[in-house]
């Protein structure tokens, strides 16, 4: 077999196996590069609030809080809905306290979560659904349950996940994120968990793709002619 014929045959047979996946790779790659990662992360969904200096006078002392929350590991003083709160981590989990009165706020009820969701959301739309999930959905796999899910009216179905124990925004999702996660699955060929970038299918397919692209490059050597010579042969 002559070299050009060999190049063409190998390229064509390799492509037969890998072409569909190559289309998936390029399309998913184009999506991931074209839609900015900050948009995917939903940065614009959350109202940007510049941190304000905390007024410490009159707040419950951390020493006092240590008695109220047995097994205390760490605590944070933060502001929620304009009021100072302590977010406490104990050996048993997380808890939220009013930093002025020392009253335990967690687990937060529907009204408290609704107020926080509305205050956090940067969009115009209202909350269309609010529910307490006891099992975390696939889109926030690693987060602890129970968790509140607030879906808003607005483009791409914006969704906030808020912890009933800390009152904090744990995750934000919208359809552009969901699409990214979906095309990422095609990109890394982990069609089960969308996490393993070292799976055997991907390893085999990527090396085959490299062979396909290399034989393609080889084929290019035989694919172009100088026009002048072509004309002369016609004449």
């Amino acid at each position: 077999m002559r070299w050009p014929a060999l190049a063409r045959t190998t390229h064509k047979w390799l492509a037969l196996i890998i072409a569909v996946q190559a289309v998936f790779w390029t399309l998913s790659g184009l999506y991931m590069s074209a839609v900015h990662i900050d948009i995917i992360h939903g940065d614009r969904l959350v109202k940007a609030v510049a941190p304000q200096p905390l007024a410490l006078a009159g707040l419950v002392e951390p020493a006092h809080l240590a008695h109220m929350a047995p097994g205390l590991k760490s605590l944070r003083l933060d502001t929620q809905l304009g009021k100072p709160v302590y977010i406490v981590e104990t050996t048993a989990g997380h808890d939220l306290f009013d930093a002025r009165t020392g009253r335990a706020l967690s687990p937060l009820g529907e009204a408290d979560i609704r107020a926080r969701a509305k205050a956090l959301y940067a969009g115009e739309g209202d909350i269309v659904s609010l529910e307490l999930l006891t099992k975390v959905p696939g889109e926030i796999k690693s987060r602890p349950a129970p968790i509140w899910r607030a879906e808003f009216e607005g483009a791409w179905r914006p969704t906030f996940y808020i912890s009933p124990q800390t009152g904090e925004l744990v995750a934000r999702r919208h359809d552009l994120w969901r699409t990214y996660d979906f095309v990422w699955m095609f990109h890394i060929m982990d069609y089960e968990n969308r996490t393993d970038v070292n799976n055997i299918l991907l390893r085999v397919a990527t090396w085959m793709a490299l062979a396909t692209s290399l034989t393609g490059a080889w084929l290019l050597l035989y694919s172009f002619r100088r026009r002048r010579r072509a004309r002369r042969s016609v004449a």
Binding site: K12, A15, L16, A19, V20, A22, V23, W25, T26, L27, G29, L30, M32, S33, A34, V35, H36, I37, P51, Q52, P53, L54, L56, A57, L59, E61, P62, A63, A66, L72, K73, S74, L75, R76, L77, D78, V197, N198, N199, L202, R203, T206, W207, A209, L210, T212, S213, L214, G216, A217, L219, L220, S223, F224
Partner: protein, 245 residues
């Protein structure tokens, strides 16, 4: 149509084909590099048992020690003691929770924090401050201390000079991965962004290369290409037919 696709495939191949070779190569390399190793998993040990919190100093003492308006305040364990970490308008301050004295993360403290977080047994090779963004520290808030250990992976731990927190670890597997990642995302200066005009333009071209290639496949094969599998089937069918008769 087919002629146009063939022309398109060939010219896109000529113009951006090299990047397709680089993408498949870097993709294949990243699929091979074990991401547990790349992420330096298991290099940093989880914090030891939390010390008992003895009467922490009052908020008034903290405010005084911080010396600037406090934006966020945290009380947390740091190497067997409790500290207040105050984010102020003038940067982060660490304050010892037992006596209200400032805690400074200097080279010695960074070294000892890194050593107690490091799972390996090898000694420290070097401790150096990082004040400008490097490939290794681009995702960390600076200033940080870089503490390198004398292991075979050249593991370096990064300790925040503000908070004393061990931010992460980088090793040779990561450094190799990061170079390949640079090739993959075509951000040759910062290795950070995959959302720039160059990559979007080239990716658009490559989508057409893949699509036209897929369509051309239907015209590139003849029945004779598959005779090695179709002929025996045909023979078997013929045999079955004559057998049935």
């Amino acid at each position: 149509m087919i002629l146009f696709l063939r022309w398109l495939h060939k010219w896109i191949g000529l113009i951006v084909g090299l990047q397709f070779v680089l993408w498949t190569f870097s993709g294949a390399a990243m699929a091979l590099l074990d991401h547990h190793k790349v992420a330096a998993e298991g290099v940093i040990r989880p914090p030891a048992d939390v010390p008992r919190l003895e009467q922490p100093v009052s908020l008034a003492r903290v405010a005084q020690a911080a010396g600037a308006p406090i934006l966020r305040l945290e009380l947390k364990p740091l190497q067997g003691r409790y500290v207040y970490e105050a984010a102020t308008t003038d940067g982060v301050r660490l304050i010892d929770a037992a006596d209200g004295r400032p805690v400074v993360i200097d080279a010695d403290r960074a070294r000892s924090l890194a050593v107690s977080a490091y799972r390996g047994a090898e000694p420290v090779r070097s401790v150096a401050p990082v004040t400008e963004s490097t490939f290794e520290t681009r995702t960390f808030a600076r200033p940080v201390w870089r503490v390198e250990f004398a292991d075979k992976d050249h593991t370096a731990l990064f300790v925040s000079a503000g908070t004393g927190q061990v931010l992460g670890a980088k090793n040779d597997a990561w450094r190799l991965w990061d170079f390949v990642w640079m090739i993959h995302i075509m951000d040759y200066t910062k290795r950070e962004s995959f959302n720039h005009p160059l990559i979007i333009t080239v990716a658009t071209g490559i989508v057409w290369l893949a699509l036209s290639g897929l369509i051309l496949l239907f015209r590139s094969f003849r029945r004779s290409d598959f005779s090695w599998v179709l002929d025996p089937i045909a023979r078997l069918r013929a045999a079955a037919k004559t057998g049935a008769r």
